[in-house]
Amino acid sequence: MEQKIHPKIKEYQEKQEESKVEVPKANLVTLKIKKYNPNKDSSSSYQNYQVPVEKWTTVLDALLDVKQNLDHSIGVRYSCRQAACGSCGMKINGKPKLACFTKISELDSTEITLEPMDNFPITRDLVVDFSRLFANHKKIMPYIMNNESEISNGTKEFLQDPKHVEEYIQFAGCIKCGLCNSACPTMAMDSSFVGPQALAQAYRYVADNRDKGKDNRLKVIDESHGIWRCHFAGSCSQVCPKGVDPAMGIQLLRGYLLGFRD
């Protein structure tokens, strides 16, 4: 297949020919994108695309530039472009990151390898299937369980002081981007592991003083592919883009099961 040249690069080259001015090479990067369609391809392949970038260009900006100008067929999922929706997680130069939250300039490389996140089935190219992540999230019952519902008639709202909010607020910031599950060494070996995302969310609700479902949740995670498979490698917290720190949540949650917390 003939490699298309980005219109802006063509423009630079033409200008260079006309005025003999050197094209600023530092502003060009090559995106090496892993392409794979499970319904069509027997194996994956890499395609290179050269794009011009500015110092504020994010990986997602560059990807969308490639889609617009060089190859419309690249499969990429995105939505908010501001690290709030958790849609554009992918492996950038070997590490799981959000494409919209990663600037090309901070990667310090002129060749950027983009691959789908590990430990998730591939839907197409850079898009992975989150069914298992959402199923595990659902399994830990991610809602306040309390018979004295604050929305039923005659009951007051549940009041909470700031001290109690501090106990869980960082874990409520999870955007379900799946980066933690992708970096987890246990997930790499065991697809049935409930995963750092769901475990951190279990802690989020267990630590909430409005919630009365602690025993039910602990029962769900206290099983052979549950919390005991975490070995505190900390990679989940290393890659979390929102400061959720799943490794902390998991260890604190384990404290409940071991009887150090109540």
Binding site: S43, F120, I169, Q170, M189, F232, G234, C240, G249
Partner: protein, 143 residues
Amino acid sequence: MGDNDNKEGFKGMANPGRYGIERVAYWLMRITGLGLLAYFIAHIYETSTILDGPSAWNAMLEMTQTTEGHIFLTLVIGMCVFHTANGIRLVFGHAGYGVGKPGRPDYPYPAKSLNMKGKACIYASIGIAALAMWYGIAVMFGV
């Protein structure tokens, strides 16, 4: 289809280089655990030779007095010391101690659980294991 499953597998689990010293400690903990298990099995075999009489026992002991035997025992010392020291760190961590206190995260969101205390414990475990190995070498090789 294998490629579609996209599980990182053993290669990803065993790759210690990408996620900081905590991932290196995780990798060392696994390797030393397996090494100590292998040593335990070998040790049971070694001591069981006593049942075959004094000559079999002495022949087995002689094997440990070779250069290879000393290198092997030096590695066992290192594995044992690292696994114990890092294991103590993990016992506290798994109980929820030393992993930081939950609170409102601020940009750039440093993970409190991967704090300096934990890192210092990992480096100390590696350092103590190296010292113990050095002492073992000094005793066994008479350095």
